[in-house]
């Protein structure tokens, strides 16, 4: 007996016209499929690489290792105050331009110009080549033709995106579509108290998105995180979303939020009772100037609403909680069966130590849950790779998983199609 209404078709999956048959996970275990995803997805879509608060002034920069897209980018605020992005590569002999100590690690800072560690070539914040060591030794070197190679960059609600495809002219806002438009205006810029965590996970990137795109697992995998009686109750109920939405490659799930604050204090642990905080965040929302929710939040307009989780394809999730805090997830593939996971928590800055401790409890609780999730993924990946079983039944609460994997496969097959159709290009270089 469902607790929350479903669409007229009887299921969310059928409502969105998605196939209900068993699903293959070959796309998550095949090295060949991953190699195609790198070009078909990670070099062709808008990727969120950070937020504008990371670039507070002219010359502020950060680098991003985009292994899946076969490059590293440097993102910088230029003298006009605009955000720019470049391939992180010196035009002289291809050295990585911006890095510290370890070439494969990301870095950030403030500078007036970029100087290559190898031969001292310098580039302005606009990417222009400004200095060449022993310039007269070169042969007719036109410095204006050797600026840093730009990468398309755009900003949505303070989130900075890059797109490595210079052929695709789809603007960022069109790409993000209606789900993003529905949450535009949310006060992300007020949530500047940031905690970021990072893990190297031994699974395909999509498997971790799967884990966060359904809450069917929560009452079971995380059972011990609740007090015993509550845990039994949660397993009895299971999980049902308030709503799911699919828009192009993207999707969202809207969830109830029974724990913030809990109906009955005996449901939660002593530290949560004392601090009035937990997995669902501090129980009292800070004032972030939010007089009315943007129309895209709580689409079911349900009074039990607690949180909406948006997946912007391919690898960016935004979770917005009723009590005015935000979580983002990023999944950066490093091979077909490994990726780097980043979880970032954004709060309004605490006014006092009490609020700081409430936030700390929410953050460390998130860490405890994620440690359980991460290890389970490795267990899933290794068994999927055995191919002892190749088809898996997914339920209606796993609709976003079906959509994610189907979308990834579609991008790959369209990419293959383009490759077969493309005329053979003969290089003009002689």
């Amino acid at each position: 007996m469902p607790h929350f209404a479903k669409p007229g078709e009887g299921s969310w999956t059928q409502h969105y016209g998605i196939d209900t048959g068993p699903v293959s996970y070959e796309d998550s275990i095949s090295p060949e499929h991953y190699e195609l995803e790198r070009d078909a997805i990670f070099r062709r879509t808008w990727l969120n690489v950070g937020r504008v608060e990371q670039l507070p002034r002219v010359g502020s920069y950060f680098t991003r290792e985009l292994d899946a897209a076969r490059t590293s980018v440097v993102v910088v605020r230029d003298p006009a105050g605009e955000v720019r992005a470049f391939h992180n590569m010196c035009r002289h002999r291809g050295n990585k331009l911006v890095w510290n100590d370890y070439p494969r690690e990301e870095t950030s800072g403030v500078c007036r110009q970029f100087t290559c560690k190898y031969h001292g070539w310098r580039y302005g914040l606009d990417g222009g080549l400004t200095f060449v060591q022993q310039e007269s030794e070169f042969f007719d070197l036109d410095k204006s033709a050797y600026g840093l190679v730009p990468v398309r960059v755009d900003v949505w609600e303070g989130f900075i995106f890059v797109n490595l495809d210079d052929q695709d002219a789809t603007p960022l806002s069109d790409y993000l579509g209606g789900l993003a438009a529905g949450i535009a205006g949310y006060p992300f810029d007020r949530m500047t108290q940031v905690h970021r965590y990072r893990a190297e996970v031994a699974s395909n990137w999509k498997l971790f998105i799967d884990a966060f795109a359904e809450f069917y697992h929560a009452p079971v995998l995380h059972a011990k995180q609740s007090v015993d009686e509550e845990s039994r109750k949660l397993q009895g109920y299971g999980f049902e979303a308030l709503a799911y939405q699919i828009d192009g490659p993207h999707g969202m799930v809207s969830s109830w939020g029974g724990m913030s604050p809990p109906k009955d204090l005996s449901m939660v642990k002593p530290i949560e009772r004392k601090l009035r905080s937990g997995l669902f965040g501090p129980w009292e929302a800070p004032d972030v100037g939010l007089h009315q929710l943007p129309p895209g939040l709580n689409p079911a307009r349900h009074r039990a609403w607690g949180m909406d989780s948006f997946l912007f394809f391919p690898n960016f999730m935004v979770l917005i909680w009723k009590t005015s805090w935000v979580l983002t997830y990023h999944y950066w593939p490093t091979s077909h069966n490994t990726h780097i996971f980043e979880g970032t928590v954004y709060f309004a800055p605490p006014k006092n130590a009490r609020e700081r401790l409430q936030q700390e409890l929410a953050v460390v609780t998130f860490k405890e849950y994620t440690l359980q999730d991460g290890n389970t993924l490795e267990a899933t990946q290794t068994m999927l790779e055995s191919r002892a079983v190749t088809e898996f039944p997914l339920n209606d609460q796993e609709i976003l998983l079906r959509h994610l994997h189907a979308t990834a496969r579609r991008y790959v097959s369209e990419h293959r199609q383009r490759q077969t159709e493309a005329p053979v290009r003969i290089s003009a270089a002689s």
Partner: protein, 109 residues
């Protein structure tokens, strides 16, 4: 020995080595502790949580004196240590085996 915490919290001095400034260090200390050590810390600190918040709330968060900052870190460590004591009955998250999840950005205080 000079005191680490404000005088009102002298009873917590034996646990001063929990007052470390990063979540990663607090978590490492938790996993390196025995359940007896975690329980002793929890039993001493948990009953003082309300007093500590009342004391700390007299200051703006960015104007905490050093001893108050250390008191705040101690209670941040209490949140970390509460999981083994209140739910896991072991220092590590069960079934977390080889996984790790490390803080790379966190607030200054």
């Amino acid at each position: 020995m000079p005191s680490v915490f404000p005088a009102e919290f002298a009873d917590l001095e034996p646990f001063a080595d929990w007052a470390v400034p990063t979540e990663r260090a607090r978590y490492d200390k938790r996993t390196a502790s025995t359940m007896d050590e975690l329980q002793a810390f929890y039993d001493a600190a948990f009953p003082r949580l309300e007093d500590a918040m009342a004391y700390l709330d007299r200051f703006a968060i960015d104007e905490l004196p050093h001893d108050a900052t250390r008191l705040l870190w101690l209670f941040c460590a209490l949140t970390t240590a509460s999981f083994p004591v209140e739910v896991w009955r072991q220092p590590r998250v069960p079934d977390s085996g080889s996984s790790s999840f490390d803080a790379v950005i966190e607030p200054r205080v």
